[in-house]
């Protein structure tokens, strides 16, 4: 069940949670040979969430939607490293840490927005704080 009144924040929170996992996977594999760092694009997820669904055109009921177009997920992209490494690993720990910190902050922001929405709803229901 999705509450319309919670706006886009519910999906934003899901996206942030997913991105948190992808970034922590990058940092976990910072020393794994041949591991390629990945990240999610917020823009794609936003477009997907705004337009209801960013979908492939289907001409038959049997056609399936691609995973990457499922609502709120965004595309998984490989990161382009700024420096090459000898072992084929493309994780740059400082970049990943910055992205992780940024994402955690945005997760908290989404939580704060959701909290405000819920407070508003409760106020509307009760009439008092």
């Amino acid at each position: 069940m999705e509450f319309q009144s919670l706006g886009i924040h519910e999906q934003a929170l899901k996206f942030r949670a997913l991105r948190n996992q992808v970034l922590s996977s990058n940092i976990a594999n910072a020393d794994t040979p041949n591991y390629k760092a990945r990240d999610l694009e917020f823009k794609d997820a936003l477009i997907g969430a705004q337009s209801g669904q960013l979908s492939l055109k289907t001409t038959s009921e049997l056609h399936q939607q691609a995973w990457s177009t499922v609502r709120g997920s965004g595309r998984m992209m490989y990161r382009v490293p700024s420096q090459p490494t000898l072992d084929g690993n493309t994780v740059e720990t400082d970049v990943e840490q910055a992205a992780f910190a940024e994402n955690a902050l945005q997760y908290r922001a989404s939580l704060a927005f959701l909290d405000g929405k819920l407070r508003t709803l409760r106020y509307a229901l009760k009439g008092t704080d």
Binding site: L13, K14, A17, L18, N20, Q21, V22, S24, S25, I27, A28, N29, A30, D31, T32, P33, Y35, R38, M76, T93, Q97, F100, A101, A104, Y107, R108, L111, L114, D115, L118, R119, R122
Partner: protein, 137 residues
């Protein structure tokens, strides 16, 4: 809640890094060990990491770290002429382990940094989850 997988991912990385620290400790402890037999002398060991995602998550892109094994270095062992040594062979030679102390120190620093990074990841994610739990209170 999908954030829980972060604990598995970061936990597997911490496990791998702690094995790496253990191996480094073993290498450093045996740095100067000698033997009269080149087959029996201590050789530096290195853990081999790889990423895996079969069991952790159905989602591609989220993978933990697996320890594939520990390999011995194939670098040549140092030959030292020391006929008074009790372990010396018939030519008066002993073989010294091929541990490179500088490499091991660098390995140690790298392992401890990576371990700490993963602890931070777990702490941050734990904070986020706790905050999510108190949503709407």
């Amino acid at each position: 809640m999908s954030l829980f997988k972060v604990f598995d991912v970061a936990g597997s990385a911490m496990n791998a890094q702690s094995v790496r620290l253990n191996v480094t400790a073993s290498n450093l402890a045996n740095a100067g060990s000698v033997s009269g037999d080149p087959e029996r002398v201590y050789r530096a060991r290195q853990p081999i990491f790889s990423s895996f995602q079969e069991t952790l998550a159905d989602h591609s892109g989220i993978s933990g770290v697996r320890l594939d094994g520990i390999v011995e270095s194939s670098a040549p062992v140092e030959l030292r002429y020391q006929p008074e040594h009790p372990e010396a062979d018939e030519h008066g030679n002993v073989y010294v382990s091929n541990v490179n102390t500088i490499e091991e120190m660098v390995n140690m620093i790298s392992a401890s940094r990576s371990y700490r990074n993963n602890v931070e990841i777990i702490n941050t994610t734990k904070d986020l989850l706790l905050q999510t739990l108190s949503l709407g209170r």
